[in-house]
């Protein structure tokens, strides 16, 4: 079990709930579970191909993660839009 934290519009789509306890071995499994349990957010993090959208960053216990990054039990997984600008 890990905790997925979302903010901004993603949090609003989850009824204002920012923390979600979910099962998953990898970042991708976890995010699929997140969108499955929060249907209003479906398609916001993952695109139709099932990939994380290019400007969404995911951090696992404060380390930058990718789709296949393993998620240890109790991990804190942050979903953060990329910083834009110069």
């Amino acid at each position: 079990m890990a905790v997925v934290r979302v903010r901004g519009p993603l949090r609003a789509l989850c009824g204002g709930r920012g923390e979600h306890e979910l099962e998953g071995q990898t970042v991708l499994e976890l995010l699929r579970g997140f969108e499955s349990r929060n249907p209003d957010a479906r398609g916001w993090i993952l695109d139709e191909r099932g990939h994380i959208r290019p400007h969404i960053n995911v951090f696992v216990d404060a380390e930058r993660g990718a789709e296949l990054t393993p998620v240890p039990a109790g991990a804190r997984v942050e979903v953060i839009p990329a910083i834009t600008g110069g």
Binding site: L10, G43, E48, R49, G50, H55, I56
Partner: protein, 359 residues
């Protein structure tokens, strides 16, 4: 009273005003989706429903609608996505067009995809005929992507449709979109070597297409270098750009009452996308393209290097009361209450204008 729905790089702007002589001009009544790129916005005339297509740089393209206060709650439309598990993702929504059947709407998007709604835009289904078109693998995108940007219904006949895709050309259907065929005869892509041009396979960069309401078999096209007219419902095209300062541009509008009418906004060329001579002018034909007349009274005429995008030109009403409106990427919005005879600046400090629609 006219309402303008203006999609910009930084949100939706709703303006309201009276453009007739003695009218009070336009006021910005509301702003919504602040900071979000609004690629297209439309007040659907039959339902009164307001649509906004955004492409968040983070969360991808989405379609929202509201039946009430635009500064309040919006609903996300369902089904605006490509088939799951494929190799492509929806990149951008380009246009929404009312269909001929009650409650029906069409929506064009990148990558070259047509959606249809039968419930006034609450939910959408992909048009399978066009999505499964066997030549799709060979379609090439234009500079703006593989965008389906023009949807031409046939007044009174929901079976007949035409869509335009940059750069996959014109596609025609006589069975409500179940099957499609090309309609590209006569188009001359000057950006390709002449020996390599094949109307069935060449990349045809159509920029905008409109169908005459008064004579539906007549259509007008702004091409990537070339303005064309079709008198056989889009099967074949003839060049009508002679007399324009440039036949490159993006938007195009017609007077619904006059099948011989068209309005274009020329840009210098594909490598210099600004108004010719630094003068803002709309060009009008009233003889099917045999001649063109500049319409610039009241528009900036000195060092005005503006760009108008393909969805940023719109009209309302017809005949002598035809209203025309267009917005520029530099944030100006212009309007004419008299079919282009005179123009006024409506506002000039908006974010870059992506789309303009009037109701």
């Amino acid at each position: 009273m006219t309402e303008l729905t203006v999609g910009t790089k930084k949100g939706l702007f709703l303006l309201e005003g009276d453009h007739s002589p003695g009218g009070d001009g336009f006021e910005i009544r509301a702003r919504a989706f602040p900071g979000e790129p609004v690629d297209y916005a439309l007040r659907e005339p039959r339902s009164g429903r307001l649509f906004v297509a955004t492409t968040s740089p983070f969360y991808g393209p989405k379609l929202f609608y509201t039946d009430s206060d635009p500064t309040s709650e919006w609903q996300q439309a369902a089904g605006v996505e490509l088939p799951a598990g494929g190799e492509q993702a929806l990149a951008r929504i380009w246009v929404i067009a009312p269909g001929e059947a009650p409650g029906t709407l069409y929506m064009g998007a990148d990558p070259g995809v047509l959606f249809e709604s039968r419930d006034n835009g609450s939910s959408w289904q992909i048009n399978a005929g066009l999505w499964n078109e066997p030549s799709r693998q060979e379609w090439q995108p234009g500079g703006g992507g593989l965008c389906l940007h023009s949807i031409c219904t046939w007044p009174g006949d929901p079976q007949r449709l035409a869509v335009a895709i940059s750069a996959a050309g014109i596609w025609l259907s006589d069975d409500g979109g179940a099957s499609w065929r090309r309609g590209n005869r006569g188009l001359n892509p000057r950006y390709l070597p002449e020996a390599d041009i094949d109307p069935e396979t060449s990349a045809l960069c159509v920029h905008h297409v409109e169908r005459s309401h008064a004579r539906p078999e007549r259509m007008f096209m702004q091409f990537h270098g070339g303005v064309y007219r079709s008198d056989d419902a889009g099967e074949s095209w003839q060049a009508i750009g002679a007399g324009l300062p440039s036949d490159f541009g993006f938007p195009l509008k017609l007077d619904p009452a006059d099948p011989d009418s068209a309005y274009v906004i020329p840009l210098v060329a594909d490598m210099d996308r600004v108004m010719p001579e630094g003068r803002v002018r709309v060009y009008e034909t009233r003889d099917g393209g045999a001649s063109w007349t500049p319409r610039g009274e009241g528009l900036p005429a000195h060092h005005a290097y503006l760009t108008v995008l393909r969805q940023a030109f719109t009209s309302r009403h017809s005949g002598a009361g035809l209203e025309l409106y267009f917005g520029a990427t530099s944030g100006e919005l212009f309007g004419s209450p008299d079919a282009g005879a005179s123009w006024q600046t409506i506002t000039h400090r908006l974010p870059p204008v992506f789309s303009v629609a009037a109701s």
